[in-house]
């Protein structure tokens, strides 16, 4: 597989947020303003890049019995590092991200990529995969937060768009609006990429199939249905 493909697959085709539906919690919680979404995206992308590189380098050392705790420790280390650096040098972004910054540790995109990709591929491919997935996550949050901030607050990136006499629809920056906008963005992406619901839900159509190889077979899935 070419290196370029490792990078671009995260942007649309296997977008972690809009296709794999991972990392829903930060996507819904932080997308109230575009600025927060970009801050969160940048922090998560950095952690994803670093953890993918580190886990790819250590994949032969980490025994499979303890791989998940080992991944979490490595990811938590990078998150703590980012938190300390932001607090020291960019306190405004640190304040804006609040509790969601330490929660990057348990962002399933990062653990998902560690388990599905970095633990099975080389350093270069893992780095590009992390960067692409991080950018895909950021782009998805950018799309959701743009809609929510424009409709819900009458501004974009803090720039006021709507005149004062138009009352913004506050529902869009509340949790219900988050679910609504996220659903619309997912529908739109499915429409653009011309993806139809698979006739039979099996492993072949699943974007995460690489990760669950060995956990269950195709027939198990069918029986469970």
């Amino acid at each position: 597989m070419s290196y370029m493909k490792e990078f671009t697959k995260g942007l649309v085709k296997e977008n972690p947020t809009l296709v794999s539906l991972l990392g829903m919690c930060p996507t819904l919680a932080i997308t109230i303003t575009v600025q927060n979404a970009l801050g969160m995206g940048a922090a998560a992308t950095f952690v994803l890049l670093c953890s993918n590189i580190a886990i790819s380098l250590l994949k032969k050392i980490i025994p499979s019995q303890v791989r998940l705790p080992a991944y979490i420790v490595i990811i938590a280390g990078f998150v703590t590092f980012v938190g300390m650096i932001l607090q020291a040098f960019l306190p405004d972004i640190y304040d804006a991200l609040g509790i969601y910054l330490p929660l990057i540790t348990v962002n399933c995109i990062i653990l998902g990529r560690a388990e599905m990709f970095a633990s099975k591929n080389g350093v270069g491919a893992s780095a590009l995969d992390g960067l692409g997935m991080g950018l895909g996550f950021t782009l998805a949050m950018l799309a959701v937060s743009s809609v929510r901030e424009i409709i819900g607050n009458g501004s974009w990136f803090g720039i006021k768009l709507a005149p004062d006499f138009i009352q913004p629809m506050t529902i869009f920056i509340m949790p219900a609006g988050g679910f609504f906008v996220l659903g619309c963005v997912i529908a739109l992406v499915n429409r653009i990429s011309d993806r139809n619901a698979p006739v039979r839900t099996g492993c072949a159509a699943c974007p995460n199939k690489d990760g669950c190889a060995g956990c269950g077979t195709d027939s198990d899935v069918k029986e469970a249905k």
């Binding site: 420790v73 280390g77 300390m84």
Partner: protein, 213 residues
């Protein structure tokens, strides 16, 4: 022995990560307990005017023991007492608005609220709870000397303040900070730190200490 190997490797990875974190912590940590940060300075000058140089932080050992012995445990939410060189006092209070961590500065002069400003909105909901950080709301607390009460209609009695629409819990948080500051002022007003003495004791102690040497 092979049964222990995965556990040992996990322990080694944890130890290495912890060591790196400790190094980062040492490199980036700044002790701000005794100094005025930029945000605190901005908040306190918004109340009393002047520049950051006009203010000093009252050392915690002078006021914390008094507040800790008070029966009202909420008083321990006061995190910093700041004094202007003309004797004005401001309290930094961290309260729970919609969420824990709403950081406010309350200036109390002659037993009444002189002004309220925000150090950090913490995790109040952007565009909703953060509306309570607007001066047009904070100014409604000016002059309250007894107890601030949040009401949802036009205020009709002394001490009543109308909540910001759709941000009642954040509004309650601001009122709580004001009440805590008023309570803390009540307990501390007789203590030398807050009353007349304008020069912090350390400075005098240092000056005399320097003289004897």
């Amino acid at each position: 022995m092979t049964g222990f190997k995965p556990a040992l490797i996990l322990a080694a990875i944890t130890a290495i990560v912890s060591a790196l974190i400790i190094i980062t912590y040492d490199l980036t940590y700044k002790d701000t307990s005794g100094v005025l940060t930029d945000k605190q300075a901005a908040a306190v000058t918004a109340i009393y005017g002047g520049t950051a140089d006009d203010y000093t932080v009252v050392p915690a050992e002078k006021w914390r023991p008094v507040l800790e012995t008070a029966e009202d445990s909420e008083l321990s939410r006061v995190v910093k007492v700041i004094k202007k060189n003309d004797g004005s006092i401001a309290f930094e209070v961290v309260v729970k608005g919609y969420k824990e961590g709403y950081d406010l500065m309350v200036g109390i002069k002659d037993g009444a609220v002189y002004g309220v400003s925000v150090v950090s909105v913490g995790e109040e909901t952007p565009k909703l709870g953060t509306k309570t950080a607007d001066p047009s709301f904070l100014d409604r607390f000016k002059g309250i000397s007894d107890k601030a009460v949040i009401v949802k209609r036009e205020p009709s009695a002394e001490g009543e303040v109308q909540a910001v629409a759709s941000a009642t819990r954040s509004s309650n948080g601001v009122a709580k900070a004001v009440n805590i500051a008023l309570g803390a002022y009540d307990r501390l007003k007789d203590i030398a730190v807050i009353s007349a003495d304008l020069i912090p004791e350390e400075d005098t102690a240092l000056a005399t200490g320097g003289g004897t040497q």
